[in-house]
């Protein structure tokens, strides 16, 4: 079986996988990182979004072997070492942007990449369009949009001197 070596949330891991093993299966089943969820089988729902080399990826749509040598960040790896939450996580809680929590990890990971990719800032309409790859059945999205809007203000704020 092929061997894959990758860095997940700052830790190096080498695992044997089948050629057909998906990145999400590697994360959930081999590494026990169950924060990344699987909500569909057609790459529509976005519950499985993680960052691969800094870019959001639907981990159900990437083979584990394609992640060889990559740096992967999952929802479990977002908070700082001292436990301080990422602003996106904080704002999701602050704005009641989650109910059942199942879409939340993918939603948060996709939102961070969306904000990082748009340093000039996004309007609420642009945020809505930017979420087209993520489904939520609980919230009606509005609080998610508000949370991302609030988080971009924090993420783009000039660092304190």
């Amino acid at each position: 079986m092929p061997q894959v070596t990758l860095t997940v949330n700052g830790k190096s891991a080498t695992v044997e996988v089948e050629g057909r093993t998906l990145l999400v299966e590697l994360l959930r089943e081999k590494l026990g990182l169950t924060g990344t969820h699987v909500g569909c089988d057609t790459s529509q729902c976005g519950a499985c979004v993680v960052h691969v080399d800094g870019v959001s990826v639907k981990s159900c749509t990437m083979l584990a072997v394609q992640a060889d040598g990559a740096k992967v960040i999952t929802i479990e790896g977002l908070a700082a070492a001292d436990g301080t939450l990422h602003p996106m996580q904080e704002m999701f809680r602050e704005h009641h942007a989650l109910q059942c929590g199942f879409c939340t990890p993918g939603m948060v990971m996709a939102a961070i990449d969306l904000v990082n990719s748009n340093p000039l800032g996004l309007s609420q309409d642009e945020i809505r369009h930017g979420l087209e790859g993520n489904l939520c059945r609980c919230t009606g999205y509005h609080n998610i949009v508000k949370a991302i809007d609030a988080a971009q203000g924090i993420m783009h704020a000039p660092a304190a001197e």
Partner: protein, 786 residues
């Protein structure tokens, strides 16, 4: 310094969120047991066929395969039970065909399980399932609700002649006929309520485990009601007594009704775990969810209202065909009857009503309750009919509603369809919504849109629903095979922290926060000292779970009753410690005090005394501070309100954009306004999804055409705008909290508001849901009838 207020009425942030935003949720698929095997299900790809043979020899010989089971293995085990029996007009019971755990003899819908393969890994099970040789002989099939009763239609169950499950009615046919005979006008509307697929984001999962040392079974499952599953599966399917069966429903990723029911997979993994002596896990792929989770709605109706010359409603007559699918799901028969016909008075004083409902079998996935369950169907019918009456009578749509509203001073109000509303003020919610939506400013906005070549419309829905399910005696008399009380166990620990064990279940509703606020409010302890425990029959005394917006109204009331007992016992202990009479002890903000003195003891001190009873009235009082209450509600609760939707349609494309949505609901006492707003926004979003995009499409033979997120249109963020939510609350008069429930109001009130707006924009009398761009464009271009 005062502690922040965390009790009833505070929008405190949710306690459960920290684990969800950190990836530390504990969903069923996150659980794995040592020695676990994996199950894959071979499902029928035919709507109706005879099973000629199943050859599993190649599959059994494949690498890693542990077992293959078919319907033969379950032939002597009970079928999946139905929890509600409806009686026909003539008093005879409904037809209740056996629902085999695994199809036996015949398959009856696409998705019906034919065989299961259990292997060391999921991939091995999948590979082996491909090696099953299954010989099916196609049979004629029927999928369409309206065709199911036609003479010569293919028959789904031999025992259900003409595919009729039941022919039921409610109300006074003679009085309605008399009113129709003399009425100024009878307005008729034919409508359909589109079939929906619930699609909670977490697919269903079941993991069965068997302890060979104790003989105990454990089922981990994605359920809204683990005790109900224990009862149904244990007593009716597998014959396992409650004390040997534990059902755990940990974090559950949304339900919306679809995770109420006892599903075949739960019984298979539990049974197989015992058979194999190893854990067996099954995780649905989304395509399986589409063809095995219970669907919702699917009604075809004719509604007729007799009116006088002033537009006053005189009599309502409704005929409905309801599609049950291929088998009766757990609560399916109740949905188009007692959760539907009883709602047809709505917010109006219609004096006489007669409703006939025929439920039919078809070769489709079973249909059961989906967010709102019967009440959205009733509301869509009634609120569309009222708009049609206004149009036919040349009357204003808002004024005709006002004219027929149940007056403020008429409560308690007895409807002609069994329910007695305890409280409500439909004028208040209507007025607040009209203001919030700037209804008066609509003509100017319509003109401005017209100048841009766009069609604007506005729609109003003034709905009512019945939830807080339900008084056991009442539902028992109507055919329910269960009681619908709720249970709470409040355990004050020796050091004063508190665990509350509730029989309700949270799968997104925020119970860990809302219920902790109840405890904080009543017992005066900080939220951080309170844990709400749910979803485990091994920990919780009993309970009926979460659906029908019942958790706060019924489950919360049980907590209040249990806390009353805690306080009553605490007073006796405090009286002993402070050498006073229990009648003189007051309890407030977590402190017991002797009236008129400065003597006091905290709840924590009383708790410690209760568990370390050295100085204690031991002759008359047991130690400990742990109380349980079963609460059976006296009545349903009756949220109501007004939803106003404004749409703008691009005639070039037919795309309907929601430009404004205002909901003002009466949900009774609100514990956490932030959570209520979120529940209503989410419910409205699902209602808008039904109205504009969603449709479970079958071809005439019963092939599911919308079997994935590629074909079944889920609402996305850019399909919506902000949904403005307000409340104008009247208190429920019969439960200790005054709360009515808010989980379903959004999905109940909103669909007719959307379609009323679309019809207004298009200047048509009616169109059925969903108002997709294609349908709207066809209407605009004269290619389809409205």
């Amino acid at each position: 310094m005062n502690a922040p207020f965390e009790g009833i009425g505070a929008s405190v942030r949710r306690k459960e969120d920290l684990r969800f935003i950190s990836g530390r949720g504990n969903y069923t698929d996150d659980i794995n047991r040592p020695g676990q095997t994996h199950m894959v299900i071979k499902r029928s790809d035919r709507p109706h066929a005879r099973i000629i043979s199943i050859d599993a020899s190649a599959a059994l010989a494949a690498p890693g395969v542990v077992a293959v089971y078919t319907g033969d293995d379950f032939a002597n085990i009970g079928g999946l039970p139905c929890g509600w029996q409806i009686h026909n007009k003539d008093g005879s019971p409904m037809v209740e065909p056996k629902h085999p755990v695994i199809a036996h003899g015949k398959v009856r819908h696409v998705g019906d399980p034919i065989a299961v393969v259990i292997a060391e890994t999921k991939q091995q099970a999948k590979n082996a399932a491909e090696l099953l040789v299954i010989d099916l002989e196609d049979l004629p099939s029927i999928a369409t609700t309206t065709d199911a009763l036609k003479p010569g239609a293919p028959i789904v169950h031999d025992e259900a002649a003409g595919n009729l499950c039941y022919d039921w009615h409610l109300g006074d046919a003679d009085a309605v006929a008399a009113a129709f005979a003399t009425a100024h006008k009878v307005v008729t509307l034919d409508l359909e309520n589109n079939r929906l697929i619930p699609n909670a984001m977490e697919p269903r999962v079941a993991l069965g485990d068997y302890d060979r040392h104790t003989g105990d079974y454990t089922l981990f499952t994605t359920s809204q009601n683990p005790h109900v599953i224990r009862l149904l599966m244990g007593a009716f399917v597998l014959g396992l007594p409650e004390h040997k069966l534990r059902v755990v429903a940990p974090d559950v990723g949304g339900g919306f009704g679809s995770k109420i029911y006892h599903y075949a997979e739960e019984a298979i993994v539990t049974w197989a775990a015992g058979k194999l002596g190893r854990p067996v896990k099954w995780t649905a792929e989304r395509s399986e969810s589409f063809m095995s989770d219970a669907h919702g709605r699917d009604h075809v109706s004719t509604a007729q209202m007799a009116v006088d010359k002033d537009g006053k409603f005189l009599a309502l007559k409704v005929h409905t065909l309801a599609n049950m699918g291929a088998y009766l799901s757990t609560f399916a028969p109740a949905v188009p009857t007692y959760l539907y016909a009883t709602l047809l008075a709505g917010t109006y004083t219609t004096p006489v009503i007669y409703v006939e409902v025929k439920a039919v079998f078809t070769n489709t996935v079973p249909v059961d309750a989906y967010r709102g369950a019967g009440r959205p169907e009733a509301t869509f019918l009634l609120e569309r009919l009222v708009d049609a009456i206004a149009l036919d009578m040349g009357m204003d749509r808002v004024e005709i509603r006002r004219k027929n509203f149940i007056p403020r001073d008429a409560f308690p109000y007895q409807t002609p369809v069994a329910l007695q509303y305890d409280s409500g003020d439909y004028f208040a919610t209507l007025d607040a919504a009209l203001k919030s939506a700037d209804y008066a400013g609509f003509p100017a906005r319509k003109a401005a849109a017209a100048a841009q070549g766009k069609l604007r419309g506005i729609g109003v829905s003034t709905y009512l629903e019945a939830c807080g399910i339900a008084p056991s005696k009442v539902v028992g008399s109507l055919g329910a095979r269960a009681g619908l009380y709720e249970v709470a166990n409040v355990r004050v620990h020796p050091t004063g922290s508190i665990s509350v064990f509730t029989g309700t279940h949270s799968h997104g509703q925020g119970h860990e926060t809302t219920f902790a606020q109840l405890v904080s409010d009543q017992l005066g302890v900080p939220l951080s000292q309170v844990d709400i425990v749910h979803g485990d029959t091994g920990k919780i005394p009993f309970g009926m779970g979460t659906y029908g917006s019942r958790s706060l109204a019924v489950g919360g009331s049980a907590m209040v009753k249990a806390m009353d007992k805690i306080i009553a016992k605490g007073k006796k202990i405090a009286a002993h410690l402070m050498e006073a009479s229990p009648e003189d002890i007051e309890f407030k903000n977590g402190v017991f005090s002797v009236a008129g003195t400065d003597k006091q003891k905290t709840l924590g001190e009383i708790a410690l005394t209760a568990y370390v009873p050295h100085n204690y009235p031991i002759e008359t009082l047991e130690p400990g501070l742990d109380e349980t209450a079963f609460y059976d509600p006296a009545n349903f609760t009756f949220p109501g309100g007004c939803h106003i939707c404004e749409v703008e349609i691009d005639p070039e494309t037919g795309v309907v954009a929601i430009v404004n949505f205002n909901a003002v609901d009466d949900v009774g006492r609100v514990v956490n306004p932030m959570i209520v707003e979120g529940q209503v926004q989410g419910g409205v979003a699902q209602g808008i999804g039904q109205a504009l995009l969603e449709n479970a499409a079958y071809d005439a033979s019963g092939q599911l055409l919308s079997g994935s997120f590629m074909d079944y249109t889920m609402l996305r963020a850019d399909d919506l705008t902000n949904i403005t939510v307000g409340t104008e609350n009247t208190m429920c008069t019969h439960n200790p909290l005054g709360s009515k429930g808010c989980g379903e109001v959004g999905a109940i009130g909103s669909p007719p508001a959307v379609i009323n707006a679309v019809c207004d924009a298009l200047n048509i009398r009616h169109m059925n849901m969903p108002a997709t761009a294609e349908k709207v464009w066809s209407i605009i271009n004269g290619r389809a009838a409205g």
